[in-house]
Symmetry: C2
Subunit: 153 residues, 2 copies
């Protein structure tokens, strides 16, 4: 695993907030040459510390303004059934995140759709169409208070 020095960490913080900055801008902020920044970025990409660069969209402007957390319990927990469930859940475009978790339920899904009607549709025709689903429990998002992809290093 790559050892990160303070400059790497600062660089990663900058890139997490705005990946469209030029190397020149970054070099000014970090007091480095353009080449030094370039080499560091390439190294961080090559080592997999930087996974990818993406555009983040405004959910409201693309008509996806309804979010829910859906807790799911399976009926069977043998490896075969778990693998099958996970393979199916990954395919569902409405599911942005899926975690295998501790506690009362087996999985938590973060689901994003247009509205409640679309959520009902998702539950009835997509989620519960997957075999092996026992119980589900939906929690609806009233307001997004904080949402960042930037990890403090």
């Amino acid at each position: 695993m790559l050892k990160l020095d303070q400059t790497d960490k600062e660089l990663l913080t900058l890139l997490q907030n705005d990946s469209k900055q030029t190397n020149k801008e970054l070099s000014n902020k970090l007091n480095l040459s353009v080449t030094a920044v370039y080499e560091r970025v390439k190294k961080l990409e090559k080592e997999g510390v930087v996974k990818r660069y993406v555009a983040l969209l405004n959910r409201k402007q693309i008509e996806k303004n309804f979010m829910a957390h859906c807790h799911v319990r399976l009926t069977q927990h043998s490896k075969e059934f778990v693998v099958k469930f996970e393979r199916e859940i990954i395919k569902l475009e409405e599911v942005l995140e899926c975690y295998h978790v501790s506690g009362d339920y087996d999985y938590i899904l973060k689901v994003l759709v247009k509205d409640m009607e679309a959520y009902r549709d998702f539950m009835v025709t997509k989620l519960t169409a997957i075999p092996n689903i026992g119980n589900t429990h939906s929690i609806f998002v009233i307001d997004e208070v904080k949402h960042t992809t930037s990890i403090n290093i």
Copy 2:
């Protein structure tokens, strides 16, 4: 609100998956000229459909390999107390996401830290240091099955 045509939607999908593609690459995939792509991207940025461009990191490589969902109930729900809680929760670097939600609890926090010890520390010295917190209930992530920032348009 900007009306998106099919080309805009395809462009947004491409940018959500890889924002480092050149306009030339995008123009090939969309069967457009470089200028046409350039103009569309600028329009989408200006209208706020594209919120920002960010680098996504590999959590494991930066020693943040412990995630939990923390459900929080407040003791008081008047506007004054809610605002105060939200203002404090936003400041906490370990909290990547915070949602005001329906159901038994008032908020769900997505918390990312190094390990269980760091989580305990977060709970004891940061979260419960905020006044007005009643109950909390932590759900630990055993495995991340799916995680995308890309919204299907």
